[in-house]
């Protein structure tokens, strides 16, 4: 067991942390998410230059061939700074789907372009009726002229407004909640019959609703056997947002601790009140517990045994959800009125933590999955 970073990981850590320090003051972030696009092309170009967009991809496809740990290092910094660029949707999810399911040809076409910052992806898997159930898929794909045409809707697709290509799950066989009969497709943003309704999300990021109407798509991976890839991608997203949540909680706890030491009421810093000391201790513990699970998730996400991986990611997601909720809510509470304001950073960290809890399965869902495995 080794919980220390290697030399390369340490360098990566320092470089992403430096990026956040230099580019993501709270004020800069506020202005950025208020723009139409909500994130910066210049930052994206910088990510490409520094190699971050190719971290998990094999070297023969323009990537750095790194493990879940390096993704964790980047995602934690993304959390520290409340970074708004679509790293999760493009690199972890879209790129993860192509890497998991794509043919050599598809990987060669797409992954280098992602790594160079020329192609942004989004993974469209959720549907309105499905809640968090990954195999509840009603989007239909019909074989036509040697290809497929997709019809249906996908909901809350992260990164949709700026995606160049979508990875879409659709049903090629079976009933709407069957495990078999799901196939992944690559769909170009210009494809006929595709419309994207983009919008901001509660945490200031961007997502969209997709409507497909006889839209052509290229099969990605096995026909009728796409569910394992969907599950793998969502698990990768869980490992990634676990690290992001750890970063968010780290910044939020620092901010709250500082406030307890400086805010005075009744002639003393409020941090002298024991009830607040104990609350802060519990927030510290919640963050430490989350760190352990995020590291575990980073180290086990590349595991071969899918059931073991799923069980591990469910355990991580449950703890992350609990910690995020507690740290988020209490950081607002301990700030009093100022914590409720839009011009103070705490609320924005709390919002992102809350939305992480609302993504990729909530506690009920993951406790059920954990128990069933």
């Amino acid at each position: 067991m080794d919980f220390d970073y290697s030399e390369d990981q340490q360098l990566l850590h320092e470089s992403v942390q430096r990026f956040v320090r230099e580019n993501y003051s709270f004020e800069a972030r506020r202005q950025l998410v208020a723009t139409e696009q909500g994130w910066s092309d210049a930052h994206w170009a910088q990510f490409a230059e520094l190699g971050w967009l190719g971290i998990p991809f094999p070297e023969e496809h323009g990537g750095l061939g790194m493990s879940g740990v390096e993704t964790m290092v980047v995602m934690e910094a993304i959390g520290n700074g409340l970074v708004a660029e679509p790293y999760l949707s493009t690199v972890v999810m879209g790129g993860g789907a192509v890497a998991a399911a794509g043919s050599d040809e598809q990987k060669a076409e797409i992954l280098p372009a992602v790594a160079e910052g020329k192609c942004k992806l989004a993974f469209a898997f959720a549907e309105r009726q499905a809640r968090y159930n990954l195999q509840d898929v009603e989007m239909r794909a019909e074989a036509a002229n040697g290809g497929y045409r997709l019809s249906g809707m996908k909901s809350v697709v992260f990164g949709a407004p700026t995606a160049d290509r979508f990875v879409v799950s659709a049903r090629t066989a079976g009933g709407s909640r069957d495990a078999d009969g799901i196939t992944l497709f690559l769909v170009d943003k210009e494809a006929a019959g595709l419309s994207v309704r983009g919008y901001p999300t509660a945490d200031g990021l961007r997502a969209g609703e997709l409507t497909l109407d006889g839209t052509p798509g290229d099969v990605l991976g096995e026909v009728d056997g796409g569910l394992p890839a969907v599950e793998e991608v969502v698990d990768r997203a869980i490992a990634a947002v676990s690290a992001e949540a750890v970063g968010l909680m780290g910044t939020l706890n620092d901010m709250t601790l500082e406030y307890l030491k400086t805010r005075e009421q009744f002639g003393q810093p409020i941090g002298r009140f024991q009830v607040l000391q104990h609350r802060m201790v519990d927030m510290f513990i919640a963050h430490e517990e989350a760190k352990s699970m995020a590291m575990m998730a980073a180290m086990r996400i590349d595991e071969e045994d899918a059931d073991a991986r799923k069980k591990a990611m469910s355990a991580a997601k449950v703890q992350i959800g609990k910690s995020a909720r507690f740290v988020g809510q209490q950081s607002i509470q301990l700030h009093g009125g100022i914590g409720m304001t839009d011009e103070y950073a705490a609320g924005h960290y709390f919002k992102r933590l809350t939305m992480i809890d609302r993504s990729f399965g909530d506690n009920d869902y993951h406790l059920r999955r954990y128990a069933a495995l």
Binding site: R131, Y199, T201, I270, Q333, G336, M340, D342, H348, R358
Partner: protein
């Protein structure tokens, strides 16, 4: 000890329902249901309709213009109002200023201010908190210096709910600095249209903003607007805080949201259904605790530190309900089209119509354990005043 659901109460409930059905405009009802932002007119027009019926000030004595309701009737009215998605009235006049004036005001002050509160012709705000005086309210520093028949007021109030809508402010000011911090505080009724009053809205991260910063610069307030003796304002303030905590602890609001949750719940997730039921049971407890502790004691106008218990549990249950409603949206907790919460939005919603409002309310309701004396402060009160610690 007996449960007493009188026929009279049933008839009263029908009367309240009929009134709301007749007077509440459909568009306002829809906005409240979907958690959209309300305008001043939406709220004040409704308050005026309630006033016309004579129901604005249910906890005032009948002689002062109250409707003479029993505690359970007050409860029914509030509950029916929430269930029918009527806007909550701005509470500061009827629930706070009124009772304080009835207890401490001169006849002249009562004659000047109570009619406007009863008719909802004047809207009030509460100017207590300051940037450096929140939980430690008695340390407040907003200065009022006597100058003949006037006080000259200088200072900053913050988090003042509805100050941007208000005609008058019920303010705590410092008239003397020499003794104990609780001494030397006075209550002034300040006309918000006086020269030197500036109101600056403050945005909340939930984007459901209704509080403000209020700045007083050389504002000349007539001495006749001071309530009770100079330097004795803390007595009024504490009396008022008791009334603030003795609302019905949000039972009606919670009931309305829980009804909606039960409607939404399709039973596919038994764990979620269980949590809804658990919150429903907690709400039943809150209702009975309210009836036991506040309503029963009201006869002798003694609202004790039990009110702190209701504030703590009431706000916790409200927060649980808001959280469940957000969780029920699944992925649709994410989309947040701010314009969808405002006036005149008529594009189709993303996901269920209440989704964006549900998320905003969850975030916004974190305020409930902070305002009106934070829940930590309420626990301190029980520790000290009830348990003798």
């Amino acid at each position: 000890m007996r449960i007493d659901i009188a026929d009279r109460d049933r008839a009263f409930r029908d009367e309240v329902r009929a009134f709301i059905r007749e007077r509440l405009p459909q568009d306002v009802r829809d906005k409240v249901r979907d958690g959209s932002l309300l305008t001043r007119d939406d709220v004040v027009d409704w308050m005026r309709a309630v006033s016309e019926r004579g129901w604005m000030c249910p906890n005032w004595p009948e002689t002062a213009g109250g409707p003479g309701w029993t505690p359970s009737q007050r409860f029914i009215f509030e509950e029916e109002s929430y269930l029918a998605c009527a806007p909550a009235p701005v509470p500061f006049g009827p629930q706070m200023v009124g009772p304080v004036l009835l207890a401490f005001g001169t006849e002249e002050q009562k004659a000047r201010h109570l009619p406007g509160i009863l008719s909802s012709g004047t809207i009030w705000c509460q100017g207590y908190s300051e940037p450096n005086s929140g939980s430690d309210l008695a340390s407040l520093g907003c200065r009022a210096v006597r100058d003949g028949d006037h006080y000259i007021v200088n200072g900053r109030k913050i988090w003042t709910t509805n100050a941007d809508w208000a005609d008058w402010c019920f303010a705590l000011v410092r008239t003397d600095n020499s003794g104990k911090k609780q001494d030397g505080i006075s209550v002034l009724l300040i006309d918000m249209s006086l020269p030197g009053v500036t109101v600056r809205p403050i945005e909340r991260f939930s984007r459901m903003s209704d509080f403000n910063e209020v700045i007083f610069e050389d504002v000349r307030v007539p001495v006749s607007e001071r309530v009770y003796d100079e330097g004795k304002g803390w007595t009024c303030a504490k009396y008022l805080l008791g009334h603030e905590r003795s609302g019905t602890a949000g039972v009606g609001l919670c009931r309305q949201r829980l009804d909606r949750l039960e409607e939404i719940d399709d039973g596919r997730d038994p764990e979620f259904s269980r949590r809804i039921a658990e919150t429903g049971a907690a709400l039943e407890d809150l209702r009975w605790s309210f009836l036991r502790m506040v309503a029963a004691k009201e006869a002798d106008d003694e609202i004790g530190p039990e009110a702190s218990l209701l504030k703590i549990r009431g706000t916790e249950i409200q927060q649980d309900v808001m959280e469940l409603l957000m969780e029920a949206q699944g992925y649709f907790a994410h989309p947040f089209i701010e314009r969808a919460l405002a006036q005149g939005w008529n594009e189709p919603p993303v996901g269920p119509s209440e989704a964006a409002g549900a998320t905003a309310f969850y975030f916004d309701w974190r305020k409930a354990s902070i305002y009106g004396g934070s829940n930590e402060i309420q626990r301190n009160i029980i520790a000290k005043a009830v348990l003798g610690l």
